[in-house]
């Protein structure tokens, strides 16, 4: 298929780019009025803009500059300039919304939002939880260190004895 051909074209030892702008590419909008939403690229208008549609994410079909889009790993299958209905069908078939929330990218975004919304009391609770966690970790590490140092000591002593 077209996408496969494109990738076959790439004949380096390694790929410089992994995600390409293509019809059906799902993109994340990083800034602007629709910041934070996912859209599918329906068609390319010119060097800077694409026709974009996000029926399942509340973005109307519109032109959008490439600059504010960040490409994701997901690609949908529909022909160029397909109607919104077909875009929606393809989107729901691939279950993009669920896949997106399962990616690390989406989880990091969510974590960042939660952190920004933390109240003073939440910050205290996080501090206590972190402290406890670190204490546990340190305890285990110390135990392992002690074990390994004991082994080393026995070896050392045995060498001396010999």
């Amino acid at each position: 298929m077209e996408t496969q051909d494109k990738k076959e074209y790439v004949n380096h030892f390694f790929q410089v780019f992994k995600r390409y702008v293509e019809i059906g590419r799902v993109a994340y909008i990083s800034f602007g009025p629709h910041a934070g939403k996912l859209v599918a690229i329906v068609d390319v208008i010119d060097q800077n803009r694409a026709l974009v549609d996000g029926p399942c994410s509340g973005v109307r079909r519109q032109a959008m500059p490439f600059k504010c889009m960040q490409l994701t790993d997901f690609v949908l299958k529909f022909p160029h300039s397909a109607r919104q209905k077909h875009v929606r069908v393809a989107w729901e078939k691939e279950n993009i919304n669920e896949k997106w929330t399962g990616t690390r990218w989406a989880k990091k975004i969510e974590a960042r939002e939660k952190k920004a919304k933390m109240t003073d009391f939440d910050r205290y609770k996080v501090m206590k939880a972190k402290k406890m966690r670190n204490r546990i970790i340190k305890h285990e590490v110390k135990k392992l260190q002690k074990q390994s140092s004991k082994k080393f000591n026995i070896h050392f002593v045995s060498v001396f004895v010999l």
């Binding site: 920004a116 919304k117 109240t119 003073d120 009391f121 205290y124 609770k125 206590k128």
Partner: protein, 289 residues
């Protein structure tokens, strides 16, 4: 003739008849029904024939006679000010006086003559509008501060401590308690401006505060009776603040109601015990409290 002229009164345009009208004394009226004391008056036509528009035939004094105004003099009702003037306060009082052979009483003036007249007259100040004394000022309270909010105190000896807000006093200051057992902040007043309101709230709706916790209760006491003994004046003034028993009991009554509520919320006690601090990378304008 006097009766009939009374019954039909011509009202000159612009004239005023003051006071209560005399009830019509037609004999037939009283028989008919005493409920209708006032018969609807039939007004006389104008007694001043018009010569040209705006000009009557008779002068003011002639009209006065023709309308028989000399018979129709009424008093206006007494205004409040006149009534006050009438009811005079007593000018003198008789007061008993002790001692032998002194005569039992003295007659004392209630309002005495001034004992001092200044050489220069102070000019009268102009009237000002809307300048109220502090006790009558409008007190405002930020919407984020409601009873039971956890506040962070920013100034004073308890700076950084997290504290429970109880209520706003009449002077506008906030009444606040640690509780004492948690962070050593007693029932205390703080200023709204020097406090950060967090979004953490404790449910204080069931807590009953004693009524005597007012500004007067919390006001600092200063001794004001130096008997002009130089050198010793500064010693007798209260240097060290001592906690009175009443403060202790009040603290107990309030805290005993609040502590169980705090214990119910997990980690809240530890939160109130901790102290707020900034560190690297922490910017207050970016924090959500």
């Amino acid at each position: 003739d006097g009766v009939t002229s009374d019954a039909g009164l011509a009202l000159e345009p612009g004239s005023r008849i003051l006071g209560p009208f005399p009830s019509s004394k037609m004999a037939g009226e009283k028989k008919a029904g005493e409920k209708k004391a006032k018969k609807p008056r039939k007004h006389h036509a104008s007694r001043n024939p018009v010569l040209a528009r705006g000009i009557g035939k008779y002068s003011r004094s002639a009209m006065y006679a023709r309308k028989a105004m000399y018979k129709r003099k009424y008093d206006a009702p007494e205004t409040k000010i006149e009534k006050k003037k009438r009811e005079k306060a007593p000018a003198t009082l008789t007061k008993p006086v002790g001692g032998d052979k002194n005569g039992g009483n003295r007659v004392v003036k209630v309002r005495k003559m001034p004992r001092y007249y200044p050489t220069e007259d102070v000019p009268r100040k102009l009237l000002s509008h809307g300048k109220k004394p502090f006790c009558q000022h409008k007190r405002k309270l930020r919407a984020s501060i409601t009873p039971g909010t956890v506040l962070i105190i920013l100034t004073g000896r308890h700076r950084g401590k997290r504290v429970v807000f109880l209520k706003q006093l009449a002077s506008g200051l906030l009444l606040v308690t640690g509780p004492l057992a948690i962070n050593r902040v007693p029932l205390r007043r703080t200023h709204q401006k020097f406090v950060i309101a967090t979004s953490t709230k404790v449910d204080i709706s069931g807590v009953k505060l004693p009524k005597h916790l007012t500004d007067a209760y919390f006001k600092k006491k200063r001794l004001r009776k130096p008997k002009h003994q130089e050198g010793e004046i500064f010693d007798t003034e209260k240097e060290k603040y001592e906690v009175t028993e009443q403060r202790k009991t009040d603290q107990k009554t309030v805290d005993s109601q609040i502590l169980p509520i705090i214990k119910k919320v997990p980690q809240l006690r530890g939160y109130l015990r901790s102290v707020f601090a900034l560190s690297n990378g922490v910017y207050p304008h970016k924090l959500v409290f």
